[in-house]
Structure formats: C-alpha cells, structure tokens
Symmetry: C3
Subunit: 108 residues, 3 copies
Amino acid sequence: MKLVIAIVHDEDSTSAMQALNAEGFSVTKLATTGGFLKSGNTTLLIGTDQSNVQRVIDIIKSQSETRKRVVSPPVPLSMNGGMEAYPIEIDVGGATVFVVDVERFEKI
Amino acid sequence: MKLVIAIVHDEDSTSAMQALNAEGFSVTKLATTGGFLKSGNTTLLIGTDQSNVQRVIDIIKSQSETRKRVVSPPVPLSMNGGMEAYPIEIDVGGATVFVVDVERFEKI
Amino acid sequence: MKLVIAIVHDEDSTSAMQALNAEGFSVTKLATTGGFLKSGNTTLLIGTDQSNVQRVIDIIKSQSETRKRVVSPPVPLSMNGGMEAYPIEIDVGGATVFVVDVERFEKI
Ligand SMILES: Nc1ncnc2c1ncn2[C@@H]1O[C@@H]2COP(=O)(O)O[C@H]3[C@@H](O)[C@H](n4cnc5c(N)ncnc54)O[C@@H]3COP(=O)(O)O[C@H]2[C@H]1O
Ligand SMILES: Nc1ncnc2c1ncn2[C@@H]1O[C@@H]2COP(=O)(O)O[C@H]3[C@@H](O)[C@H](n4cnc5c(N)ncnc54)O[C@@H]3COP(=O)(O)O[C@H]2[C@H]1O
Ligand SMILES: Nc1ncnc2c1ncn2[C@@H]1O[C@@H]2COP(=O)(O)O[C@H]3[C@@H](O)[C@H](n4cnc5c(N)ncnc54)O[C@@H]3COP(=O)(O)O[C@H]2[C@H]1O
C-alpha cells in the first residue's frame, strides 16, 4: 500500500478528484497554502496499491496543466520596514507528488 | 517511531481525540473533505512508538462505529450538462488508517 | 527525497516559512488543531533531499522558541456532566518534527 500526496492548484483539484473517483480511487482533500505565494492550494491524499500508483499519477497529470503566470509576492524592505511588491514570472501549473510507503493499512 | 494517519467521521473525531489524549497520546487534527461525498471529515495524525500503534488503532476503532447511510452524491449528466442526484447506500462509519514509518523524530 | 512534517505554533509559522523560502525550500502549510489544547496550530510540509534535512530542521528550530504557558484545557466532569477548567503549566513553544522517506517524487 502506498500513500500518494499530491499538491495541486485549486482550479485543478475538482477535476482531479472526479477523475480519480471515476476510476474507483478514494481521495481525501486538504485545503492548504503555498508558502511562497501565500495563496491557497489543495493537497490530495490517495491511498492505493503499489500497482495503481502510476495510474493515479497519470490521472493527476492529465488534470494539472502547467502555465506561466506573472506574480508579485510581497517582500519586506530590509532597511526601513514596509513591503515591496515586484513582479516575477513563475511556472504555476502542474502538481507536486510524493509517494510514501504505508507499512500498515486498516479499513475499520 | 511511526506516524498514524486516520481519516474519521467528524462526529467521531472529538471522542477519538479525547480517548487518545486520555492515554497520553498527542494528536494533531486536520479538517479534510472526502472526495466522493464532498462532505467534511477529519484526519488525525498521531506520532507514536511502534509498540503503541496497535493501541492507537484500537482506540480509534472503539470510537468509530460503521453505519449505513443513503446518500445522493451530485453526478454530472453526460449529454446536456446539469447535475443529477441519485440515491445510493454506502457504509459511512468506520475509519481509514495508514501507518507510515518515521525515519527521524525531533521534539524541538 | 524526504518529506519533513513539522507541527509549529501559529505565531512561529510565518517566520519559519519565510526563512525556509529564503534558502530556496518550498513549503506547504496546513492549518491544524492540537488535540489536547484544542487550539489552532500549523503543520508545514517540506519535501527536500536527504542532504538538506538537517538544514530544514535547524531553520525550523531557529524560528520556534520554547516557552512555558499556563493553560486551562476544558475537562469533562465524570459524574454529573458539565465541564471543569483547571490551570496547568505546559511547554508550548518548540516544534514537533517527523521525517518520512519518499519513495517517488514527481514534479509535474
Ligand atoms: N523558495 C522559493 N524560491 C523561489 N521560488 C519558489 C520558492 N518556493 C516556491 N517557488 C515558486 O513559487 C511557486 C509557488 O510556490 P508555493 O510555495 O506558493 O506553492 C507550492 C507549494 O505549496 C507546493 N510545493 C512544491 N514543491 C514542494 C516541496 N518540495 N515541498 C513542499 N511543498 C511543495 O506546491 C506549490 C507549487 O509549487 P511549484 O514548484 O509548482 O511552484 C512554485 C515555484 O515555482
Ligand atoms: N484509500 C483512501 N485514500 C484516501 N482517502 C480515503 C481512502 N479510503 C477512504 N478515504 C477517506 O475516508 C472517507 C470515508 O471512506 P469510506 O471508504 O469509509 O467510505 C467511502 C466509500 O464507501 C464510498 N466511495 C469512496 N470513493 C468511492 C469511489 N471512487 N467509488 C465508489 N464509492 C466510493 O463513499 C464513501 C465516502 O468517500 P469519501 O471520498 O467522501 O470519503 C472517504 C475519504 O475521505
Ligand atoms: N506525537 C505527536 N503526534 C501528533 N501530534 C503531535 C505530537 N506531539 C505533538 N504534536 C502536536 O504538536 C502540538 C504541540 O505539542 P507539544 O508536545 O509541544 O505540547 C503539548 C504537550 O505539552 C501537552 N500534551 C499534549 N498531549 C498531551 C496528553 N495526552 N497528556 C498531557 N499533556 C499533553 O499539551 C501541549 C499541546 O498539545 P496539543 O495536542 O494541543 O498540540 C500538539 C499537537 O498538535
């Protein structure tokens, strides 16, 4: 048994969950926040057998398209306090996926 | 050290946490959502020694009773948009538990 | 690849995240609740290479100072219902850190 932990964009989370459920996977959704942009995102937990991990990742990939976006993360001014915003371009699509081994799985 | 990740029903989470605390376990609670029913549930994190894992699972089991419920998850109509609700009966009690190995544990 | 799961105090979470981002680490923040005190705290997820784990832990430690606090967690009265509050002193600073092995990491 493996636990797939996938951080996805809010805009992609609903379709990702629906696509996973449609193939019989169970998903638990966590409302999370990205530390850098300080904006909300979604972390999905999917427990599944080793043999299904690739399919789960492929489904998530199919629902998470990478796109470029110009953002202005707030930055503190070092000398005299206050906050400065400067625009930078980053890749904000896609997903970040961690697969963790599960030693024991119980459905109570 | 192991990390027990237990997805339980909201109605069972308070008694599960109290029962765990009463035996000296520390618990961190996450407010989560089930992907299929799209309703809120609770994910508990309990870090504990290998030797306590069975006790933690037994406590969670004692506070999570399985019960049947008729639900109507919203389903998209394939042809012409819109949403259709149809009732199905599912097991909605119980708990889903993952035990993950912890390579390093630090109490700072 | 390792996944660092750190439960920190709300008051320390912003500086911990900023310090981690300043050194190039990505962080995902979960709003969580401590089971014993029933007050909000923050759980940080930091995926990073084995070689960076010590640095991540040191950064979190530098932003989480332990301090003593008198609290009154609500306790049920056993005989006749109702709730009793009694003050106790506990260590409420610091952080609790779990390091979990990641079998597979995908940046989609
Ligand atoms: N220290 C830093 N310096 C410069 N640029 C930085 C940075 N940290 C993040 N970024 C950039 O900003 C984007 C948003 O990061 P954020 O932390 O808000 O939101 C992140 C975070 O919540 C999560 N995430 C990504 N990698 C992670 C990791 N190794 N550990 C934990 N969470 C991660 O996925 C979200 C999207 O990440 P993604 O890499 O696609 O996109 C990142 C990346 O392009
Ligand atoms: N392997 C796993 N990985 C991650 N999270 C897991 C999991 N197994 C269970 N969970 C979590 O526990 C909740 C209750 O699952 P349970 O299997 O008891 O009860 C489930 C099950 O009876 C049914 N169900 C779930 N996914 C389904 C699917 N893809 N097709 C048909 N029925 C599904 O609907 C109930 C509610 O599911 P929901 O997703 O709202 O909520 C799930 C989900 O949040
Ligand atoms: N092994 C573990 N697994 C999962 N989460 C963990 C954990 N160890 C710590 N945590 C998380 O970190 C928070 C602070 O824990 P700490 O041990 O510093 O500080 C704790 C500790 O001094 C005390 N405490 C916790 N559980 C206790 C218990 N069962 N009996 C007596 N004191 C307890 O109350 C403080 C606040 O606890 P609270 O539960 O509200 O909040 C906890 C919990 O959310």
